[in-house]
């Protein structure tokens, strides 16, 4: 894992992506699903951000909304904006979006076994975006594709280029996916749980690969995951999501040293530790995430929270600053007077 000292110091970097009050809903036969509720965060150039939270908390959906990949209907962007280099991605025509996707912003998906087209050769899939976004000739695109495959550590790349996805193993396929996404030197790479479908040793290799690529190409990275272990080694800043909201945002050291939201605390408590007794049970968070079919009222974590107070059930806590680099949406842990002075978001 990379040591925290190797991370660039927090010098002010230009703003790359500014998500403001994003709201995503899905209109289903069962009712409206409030998938993403009013989230805001910023990504600076070259920054590494981890978005964590359990399944269904809106991590992926918020990213797909930003890229215009939500099927509409049934999806609906109910509000907010996503400014990327000054342009609002949520209101960009589809044609312009197509030149941004795969060009400036690229996304790696969870399951490498299903995210490559089984009947097209790797060459065809890789050269596709090169020829479209970089206007390369077939030969140039081929050379670049070989270069990229070598970069991500596919041995004998020139020969493997003509192969089909089923001729690659899972880890190799994820490498191919990453190579595809790096093809046009994106300034932002979104990795949607790229290691969940892989076994642990391969996971570490992929994390290492993405880190190396990021350092080499200097792009910003949003890493969506539910694996806090990965977060610790990778991210500069962490966003914790719960029920479609951001409940805590902090630099990685603060988050692990002094989590300021009961949910983060519970997540960290649920992490298996090598120094714990072998026969002790793993901690879990009692209860289940809330039903997103109901419009949220109060704090969504209140029913499962050990620290809950009456006020939590009445008013939804905004993101409040607890330090210049840490924000928490909790009345109990961040709701003190001093924090209001530092600022409120959302």
């Amino acid at each position: 894992m990379t040591a925290s000292s190797s991370r660039p110091t927090a010098a002010p970097r230009p703003l790359l992506l500014d998500i403001r009050n994003l709201q995503v809903r899905f209109h289903t036969p069962e009712g409206t699903v409030y998938a993403v509720n009013d989230i805001s965060y910023k990504v600076h150039e070259g920054e590494v951000i981890a978005v964590v939270g359990e399944s269904g908390c809106g991590k992926s959906v918020s990213m797909m909304a930003v890229l215009g990949l939500i099927p509409r209907p049934p999806g609906e962007i109910a509000g907010g904006e996503a400014l990327f280099m000054g342009r609002d991605l949520l209101r960009l025509p589809e044609d312009d979006m197509q030149s941004i996707r795969g060009g400036d912003i690229a996304m790696v998906f969870q399951d490498p076994m299903t995210s490559l087209n089984p009947v097209l050769s790797v060459r065809r899939q890789m050269t596709e975006s090169l020829r479209r976004h970089a206007n390369m000739s077939p030969e140039q695109a081929r050379d670049r594709a070989i270069e990229l495959l070598e970069l991500v550590g596919i041995p004998d790349a020139a020969r493997r280029l003509g192969d089909y996805p089923h001729q690659f193993s899972g880890g190799m396929r994820q490498r191919v996916m990453i190579a595809m996404m790096l093809a046009c030197n994106p300034s932002l790479l979104i990795a949607d749980e790229p290691t969940t479908a892989l076994d642990v040793t391969i996971q570490a290799q992929i994390v290492e690969l993405v880190t190396r690529m990021r350092e080499k190409l200097g792009m910003a990275l949003i890493w969506i995951t539910h694996d806090l272990g990965v977060v610790a080694g990778l991210a500069e800043r962490v966003i914790v999501m719960y029920a479609g909201m951001i409940v805590e945002e902090a630099d990685v050291d603060s988050l692990f040293d002094q989590p300021r939201h009961p949910y983060t605390l519970a997540l960290l408590g649920a992490l298996p530790r090598i120094d714990r007794r072998r026969d002790s049970r793993l901690n879990s968070i009692p209860g289940a995430p809330p039903n997103l079919l109901v419009e949220p009222r109060g704090c969504p974590f209140a029913p499962r929270c050990e620290y809950v107070i009456d006020h939590c059930r009445v008013e939804r806590p905004p993101l409040m600053a607890v330090s210049p680099t840490q924000w928490s949406a909790c009345w109990v842990m961040a709701g003190g007077e001093g924090n209001y002075e530092l600022g409120i978001r959302n």
């Binding site: 890229l67 990949l69 209907p73 979006m97 197509q98 030149s99 941004i100 996707r101 795969g102 060009g103 690229a106 996304m107 998906f109 969870q110 399951d111 299903t114 995210s115 490559l116 087209n117 089984p118 009947v119 097209l120 050769s121 899939q125 596709e128 975006s129 479209r132 976004h133 020969r159 003509g162 192969d163 089909y164 089923h166 001729q167 690659f168 193993s169 996916m177 595809m180 996404m181 093809a183």
Partner: protein
């Protein structure tokens, strides 16, 4: 049962690795192992040689040459398949008729596939209202008895080969459209489609480059069956006197002419009938073999 996860190494001590098999090579291997399909393919090739190669010797002129002094003669050295009611050589007519019948089959199938794929792809990919409208249209076409439709349409436009091809395509694209729609409905949900969209692939490319190749197997199979169906349909309507008009020969209208001589001159219907049977049967076997061979998910080599 060997899955191709790694390239196969040559056992002969060669240092270089054997090139991995392409999809086409694998499909060909699987097809070759399907005996009936191989037999069908060979017979089909022979039938094409018979109709198109034979047509070079037995020209249309010869097929239409009437010799009233030699009417209804049984097979002989001069006329291996006998002669018909006006003394035309049945062998020459089966050859010339084969050209027309096979061409009708092929062209109708191509046209039918094009219409069906476009309708099915658009309906399946876009879904919603577009899908509902196109599928209601498809169903409306399906509930009309197709033989009835064929006869009425053939009557309206007369017996030209071009029109018959168009009519066949217009009355049979619905099956293809339904198959393609179903394929698209499930394929479009795949993560690789999302991945393709996430690198900025335009919709038309997603439909034709990413989804269509994945649904190739059922399309190819229905295409082969469509050839068989079109040849049979031609036989039906020609038998009813609504198809391609004499003196142009087709296997179908040769049967029509033989109706009154079923017992007295069986060579009139045996030969064209046998050719239709052979063609349709071998096309069906080939279709069967292709279905197994083209499935990208079956990896047996």
């Amino acid at each position: 049962m060997a899955t191709v996860d790694a390239p196969i190494t040559l056992a002969t001590g060669a240092d270089e690795l054997a090139p991995p098999l392409t999809f086409r090579q694998m499909a060909w291997r699987r097809f070759r192992r399907h005996r009936m399909a191989m037999a069908g393919a060979v017979i089909l090739i022979l039938l094409f040689v018979y109709a198109f190669g034979g047509g070079l010797i037995f020209t249309a002129e010869r097929a239409n040459f009437t010799d009233t002094s030699a009417r209804l003669q049984g097979p002989s050295a001069a006329h291996p398949f006998g002669t018909d009611t006006v003394g035309r050589d049945v062998l020459a007519r089966t050859i010339q008729g084969g050209r027309i019948s096979l061409m009708i089959g092929l062209m109708a199938a191509v046209l039918e596939i094009v219409i069906g794929v476009v309708v099915g792809a658009v309906a399946g990919y876009y879904g919603g209202i577009v899908d509902s409208l196109l599928m209601r249209l498809t169903e409306a076409m399906l509930i009309i008895p197709s033989l009835f439709l064929l006869i009425v349409a053939a009557r309206l436009v007369g017996g030209s080969v071009t029109w018959i091809i168009i009519i066949f395509a217009l009355t049979s694209w619905m099956y293809v459209a339904r198959i393609v729609r179903a394929e698209f409905l499930s394929l479009k949900e795949n993560e690789f489609i999302l991945a393709a969209r996430s690198i900025g692939t335009p919709t038309s490319q997603i439909i034709f480059r990413h989804i269509l190749p994945n649904s190739m197997a059922p399309i190819v199979v229905s295409a082969t069956l469509a050839v068989a169906t079109a040849i049979l349909s031609e036989a039906y309507i020609s038998f009813l006197g609504m198809g391609v008009q004499p003196p142009t020969a087709t296997w179908g209208n040769m049967l029509d002419g033989s109706y009154n001589y079923i017992e007295s001159a069986p060579w009139l219907w045996i030969f064209p009938g046998l050719l239709i049977l052979l063609t349709v049967l071998s096309i069906n076997f080939v279709g069967d073999g292709l279905r197994d061979a083209l499935d990208p998910r079956s990896r047996n080599v």
